[in-house]
Each structure stands twice: as C-alpha cells, then as structure tokens.
Point group: C2
Chain length 235, copies 2
Amino acid sequence: MYTSLFLKTHRTPVIDGEEAAALESAVARTATFTAKQIMVRQQVPLTQCTLLLEGFVERYRDTPEGRRQILAIHIPGDFVDLHSYPLKRLEHSVAALTDVKVAMFPHTAVRALTAQSPTLTELLWRSTLIDAAINREWIVSVGARSAVVRLAHLFCEMYVRLERIGMAPDRTFALPLTQVDLADATGLTAVHANRMLRQLREQGLVAFRHGEVEILDWDGLRAFADFDPAYLFFD
Amino acid sequence: MYTSLFLKTHRTPVIDGEEAAALESAVARTATFTAKQIMVRQQVPLTQCTLLLEGFVERYRDTPEGRRQILAIHIPGDFVDLHSYPLKRLEHSVAALTDVKVAMFPHTAVRALTAQSPTLTELLWRSTLIDAAINREWIVSVGARSAVVRLAHLFCEMYVRLERIGMAPDRTFALPLTQVDLADATGLTAVHANRMLRQLREQGLVAFRHGEVEILDWDGLRAFADFDPAYLFFD
DNA sequence: CGGTTGGTTGATTCGCGTCAAAACTCGTGG
DNA sequence: CCACGAGTTTTGACGCGAATCAACCAACCG
C-alpha cells in the first residue's frame, strides 16, 4: 500500500475504499534515489509525479550570486511534485537528502483520477495547497521573524509533521540536514545559524546535533517560536 | 463575461467554448468592497471563492509582535482565494487595496465543475499552483536577496503581470501601495524601503511615487533584479 | 594517516532597524 | 478659504543583528 501513509495524513475530504483503491492503482512503479541525488531539475518538462515513501527530500533554488534557498522539506507520505501535474515543469529543483524510496504517478493516471472522482481531485488538490500554505508560512518566517525564532519555528514544524507519521517518538527525531542546510532554509549564514542553535540549546528549548533534534521544552519552544500549527491543515 | 480576463491569462490547458461557458455560469453573484476593507478573515470557514474583476487585493498575515507580512498582491483576473475550495478556510487574511469588484463562485459550483471537466479542473488547479510558485519566489526574495534587489524584483513581477492584462502601457503602471506596504511585502522597514526606492530612482532603474511605478530602464532593472519570469507560467 | 566534510569560535564590518523629527499631502470642517 | 489633523514620505543619528573573514577543531573515511 504505497498510498496508505498519504491517505492517513489527509483526512479531508473523506475517501472511500473504491477511491483509495483507484489512487493506489495509479502508481506506475517505484524508484529509489541516493542521498544528495538531484531528482527533478528546474524547467525540465515532467510527465509524472512523485510520492515520497521513505527518506527525506528538499526543494530548492540556486541564485546567480551563489546563494541557495531551500523552499520545502518533504517527509514520507508527502507528494514532492504533485504540482507538476498542472504546471508541467517546475521552477525549482528537487533533491534527495537521504536515500529515498518513491512511488511514481504518471500525469495521465492523475488526470484519469480527476476525471473519475471529484473527491479524489479535491484531496490531491488540497495536498498541493497545504504545501503552498507552508510556503507562505516560510515567507512569514524569513520576512518577519528573527534568526533564532526562524530556527525554532522550523523545528516546531518538522516535529509536528514527523510526530504525526510516527517518526518523532519521545520528542526526538531525525532531521537529516547540516547546519549549512538549516541556514539555507532560513535565509541565514551557516555561522550565524550555528550561534543561534547554541542559544536554543542553552535556553533549554531544543538541541540539534548531527541531524538529530531533541525537543527539551515543547511548550516553551512553541511559545518562543510563535508556532500555530493551523497552517498545516491537520484536519 | 466575468471570466474572460482569467481565461485570457491562462492559456494552458486549452479550454473549449463549452467549458468556458460552464465556468462563466458558475458565478453566483458579483460583489464590491471598498479600499482597506477586509474581505476574508483568517480561520473563518468559507463556502465560496472570489475572482477579482477590478481593483487590487492583498493577502497578508499579522504577527503577534505587531509585524505584518504581505503574502501576495492580486490584480484583475486573479482568483484571490480559489484555494479556499479544497482548504475550506485560510490561514491568512485578504483585504482590498483599492475599491474592488469581484465575482463569487460557490464551492458547490466549483465542485460541479471538477466533476464535469478534468480540463477545467486542471486549469483551476493550475492557477492556484501559479500562486504557490509566486509564493516560493517571494521566499527566495526575502531569504536570499538584498533590500534593493527585493524591491526591484517586486516591481518586475508586477510590471510583467500588469502589462499582460493591459494595465501597464508605456512601462508605467498603478501600484496602489504605500511605502509601508512595500516594506511589509519585502520584509523591510518603511524607512529602509524609502531609502532603497531613492537608490533605484537615482540609479535610473525605476521610480515609485504615490502608488505609480515608472520603469526607467527595463533591461537594466531585469538584470539588476535577477528577474526570470518563468515562475509566472505565462504559457 | 592525510584529505574531506561539518562544526565551532573570534574579530570585524555593514546592512538594515530603531528612534526621532520635520515636510508634505490630502480630506474635512469651521 | 484657511486651519487642522491624520497618514505618508523624507532625512538624520545611532545601534544592533547578522554577514563576512579567518582560523581551528572533530569526525569520518579511503
């Protein structure tokens, strides 16, 4: 059941057994990528979508001045490029953060699903729009929050999302990023990110080391980060 | 023809006459709002979508610390909250920047369209995803571009979008924002935005005064702003 | 081992924010 | 028609948060 994790994390709209079976059968094949491999290059025409089954994936853009901006981090159960169905190509690249296993949905199969079920359509559409809501939350982060708070907010988001799929027991979870990656996600330099991580640790809120996050004080962290999970649409 | 401007600016996928008629007939009513009026409040359940016919609209979030982040600026022909159909509520607010005229699409009518035509579905879905691509470009702006470049980039984006609907003849167009609004959109303070605007004017690239933009050197501005319109998906 | 990648720290610089005040615009009412 | 006040733009002085530059260290690995 390639799609069971996706379906479990998207409870609106309600999907019946027949629709779930249709979605499952839209998988043409599975594939794997190794860590750091580029999965989708920007502006290249696409004919299929990718559902992440195992591992972590990033979406990012490189700027001519040599800066890199991470746009999204995906975890198992996320579609990493479902938006390529209506858009046909992407304006950013997608890369594997770890070794990764994915399921592929040909655009033709997605179209057949939309022709068949308005409810499935709404579900798939919704999942791309939740990504967009996360994009907007990141605009707020980089545009209106201080460096420490940005990092704290990112940890909150990743904790809540991972906890939901059972990948963050005991307020501890793997987040396979380097400090450079954290900096690229939050619009900071690696040096400053490093200092802010120390501050978060010393404040007793979160500790991040070697790609592992340990939440020390969840309520404190949430309050500090101004974190409200409404934008994740977990209902 | 409420939907003709929207259809004119979305050429992919190709829509036939019957589909265009179906879309047009999904309009339940029109409405007007006055400048500065809040059109949608965050977290309030919604039952209809709004297509902007005349005027300018902003989407924004307020932070507890009193900062405000503008997330998007909409122009005639844009759906301002089509994403409310799959999401049912929004995590940001929507306000009129000028007096505004809109067409309303009940969610039930949108659902009927998706049940009837996979092509229309793809078109509507696509339009929400172009908004998301713009969101991502804004992440790159606030996360990885300097203050002057951010402003230059915003002017490029608005010029290209407005030119396309005939609202930017002679490289001049109305952009009904104050300097405070520009600052809120780019993650700057109004004071610094003011200084950067002066710099852009003195560099001979763009001049902004009283809600009017005059592009002085389009090629220079594009190059300076690192502007590539691919993310607007004008095809 | 030496090379490579990631993390840590210090010194210094600078972009942008903050605070404050003045000039300007425009709508409104006396 | 002028006075007034609210909102906007402009400018200056100053301070801080984050970038930059530059070492140095730790872990890992062929």
